[in-house]
Amino acid sequence: MKVNLKVWRQKNNNTAGKLVEYSLDNISPDMSFLEMFDVLNAELIRKGDEPVAFDHDCREGICGMCSMYINGRAHGPQTGATTCQLHMRSFSDGDTIVVEPWRARAFPVIKDLMVDRTAFDRVVQAGGYVSVNTGSAPDANEIAIPRTIADEAMDAAQCIGCGACVAACKNASAMLFVSAKVSHMAVLPQGQAERKIRAERMVAQMDAEGFGACSFTGACSVECPKSISLDHIARMNREYLGAKLTSENV
């Protein structure tokens, strides 16, 4: 099949970018979307042009590195999947496909389709952990955790940190990402000791990074490759307000 691409090209963060058109023939419908980009890049290199820079690593939907905004949607038209899990058979012969990087103040463009998502790391550093040193843990079965609670924690914990929620949100809000981590720790007994300070610090860091506020449009959850639920955002709101009203931190 043949596809026409409009790809965002930007040399680095200090220069302006623009959409550049390419067209590719002989694309197999069985190719993954990123393999189609490999083909494009091989052609560009042969011509002596700069290949398109984009983030990718595991190419099986778990590392969270790939991050393309395809035809107006984070990770493209498929739901519950990352860019690397998208295949060309989701498009038709002759389609024009617009590919842009994630857009958010907190995710500055590094080059072409590649953005800097270290803001997420800093949010986790603000409190997304249980403070337990290596070697000090009691026996794993010392704490019984009801299966429903463990499942709920797992639902939240499976976030891959790709940033599609931010990319899809009209406000570039990181609420789904942050709440998934807050929620994961808040439901587990292990997370109780730092429950309040965690919610307070992680939200403060989220705001400091320049993410927008939540308008509860639900776009984040729809575009999330792991379909993480909006319930976690509600829980974080609850956790944060409860913490602010009752914690010892003035």
């Binding site: 190419r59 997420f120 986790v124 337990v132 794993a140 463990a150 499976q158």
Partner: protein, 645 residues
Amino acid sequence: MKLEAKIPEGPLAEKWARHKFGLKLVNPANKRKYDIIVVGTGLAGASAAASLAELGYNVKAFCFQDSPRRAHSIAAQGGINAAKNYQNDGDSVFRLFYDTIKGGDYRAREGNVYRLAEVSVNIIDQCVAQGVPFAREYGGLLANRSFGGAQVSRTFYARGQTGQQLLLGAYSALSRQVANGKVKLYPRTEMLDLVVEGGKARGIITRNLVTGKIESHSAHAVLLCTGGYGNVFYLSTNAMGSNVTAAWRAHKHGALFANPCFTQIHPTCIPVKGDYQSKLTLMSESLRNDGRVWVPKRKEDSEKIRKGLMKPTDLKEEDRDYFLERRYPSFGNLVPRDVASRNAKYVCDEGRGVSKTGLAVYLDFADAIKRDGRKTIEAKYGNLFEMYEKIVDDNPYETPMMIYPAVHYTMGGLWVDYNLMTTIPGLYALGEANFSDHGANRLGASALMQGLADGYFVIPYTVGDYLATIGPADKVSVDSPVFKQAEQRVQDQIQRLLSINGTTPVDEYHRKLGLIMWDYCGMSRTEEGLKKAKKMIQELKAEFWSNVKVTGDNEEMNQTLEQAGRVADFIELGELMVDDALNRNESCGGHFREEYSTEDGEAKRDDENYAYVAAWEYKGENQPAVLHKEDLVFENVKLTQRSYK
């Protein structure tokens, strides 16, 4: 060179405890005077960096990904083994030890493997305390499953995402230390050289992948936690960025590389579709519990299927060859990974493979669905079937799945002693990057265990012994000539790559190398083939350095340049793998030499002559590597031939 494994004396079960007591300690007030570099932030790297920072050392952690959380440990699906015996089914530290030694075809050290089994129980405790949401029973206690043909249920899991959850646990511990100021993170930074001075590792040279800046980092010790080298085959289940560069450049400075030919081929991967294929996807081994593996009996039927003239479901029962059940009546479809993989290759080599490429066999669930109902199968494998359908666009409930083996894990790696120290003092290798614990074949759900054992529970003890010996003053400044020279070397290589300005993209060399390795140093190897491969690799290397095309500059984000450096190292490693495979005149685990097999094609191990670790020493560009042998001593297990008939 005499290889000193430093395995402690005494009874197996007391070795580690005795050794720990014998190790020197660093005074708590002095720990802050030591700097440690950790390269790689997967399970081994993140757990080591966090644990060492908790002790009070100053840690610098490097990864080429944009965040430590993305390291490829994240992709492990199945689970993590631990000898907890929570299921009351007869598991013990000794049994896990025994299974690992036997599963590794008796090519691993008893002392290391026993320690691994011993600390496996602490790993689960640690991870649960961090908040890792392992699967649980309704009563709230931890659930286990049997994995990879193990006779006991000792595998802990978190849905199909155990690796991800364990890594996120280690990443959270690491993040806490970053917040405490004890770890400084360097994401999107690649190690390009090791700095050795006075015979000790002194630091590393890195390239900032965003700006291209070459930087020096000095430390008292350097830990390589850089994973395996499966991408030497181009197509593998490894992440696209997984590479051997850090380990290989350390090897060039004198770190011996052990058993490079021991690679694991996983039988249940989604087959290759076309030349554009960039990466292979693994499907959980658990599928073989219910799926039956077959190909058509006759070549003609396979041909018809390949051309789309016939559907597999149309083929009559008597025209199908359930080759694993036929050859291994007692284990059937559940034979170990290496045996299942090799047999799939044989039937495809005979021309009986399916799919357009002819490189696939069926994994059929029709009988299981008939027996247990679609609901049961859906509950067990629903997500895997969905993943398969997403990639292949076939519905496995209606037509048999297609699978083919793919490179998955590398048991070989940098040679390390019992302290995980390489042959360069101050340089350590942890996790898949070292060779130590899996012998010639790794058991399912043991990779996660080893990475975390090394990082959480071994290195925090052993690195202290070295640091206490050298003292805090024994450090080299980044302004010293040895660092400047190393920076220059790295600059020179980059300039060389950029200035070739040939015609062929890097990818193509990588693909060619992968094909050579797969054809001649893959599932089954022969002396003739290996010799041919060696020559082909040498030619490929020459062509690479004269005709590769690397676009752009150093002073920017340049993925082509990154890749070029990695492929250059893979080519050299490929040659060493071939040397190692040629040297090992036996078949064991993932290494199968056709000349050394029984009449019906089963592996023939040679314990008399090859019960050793082959550790290779680099002797310079285009010079033959020198082999050093570390004899393996077995005092607690009896060496037996594996049989699955």
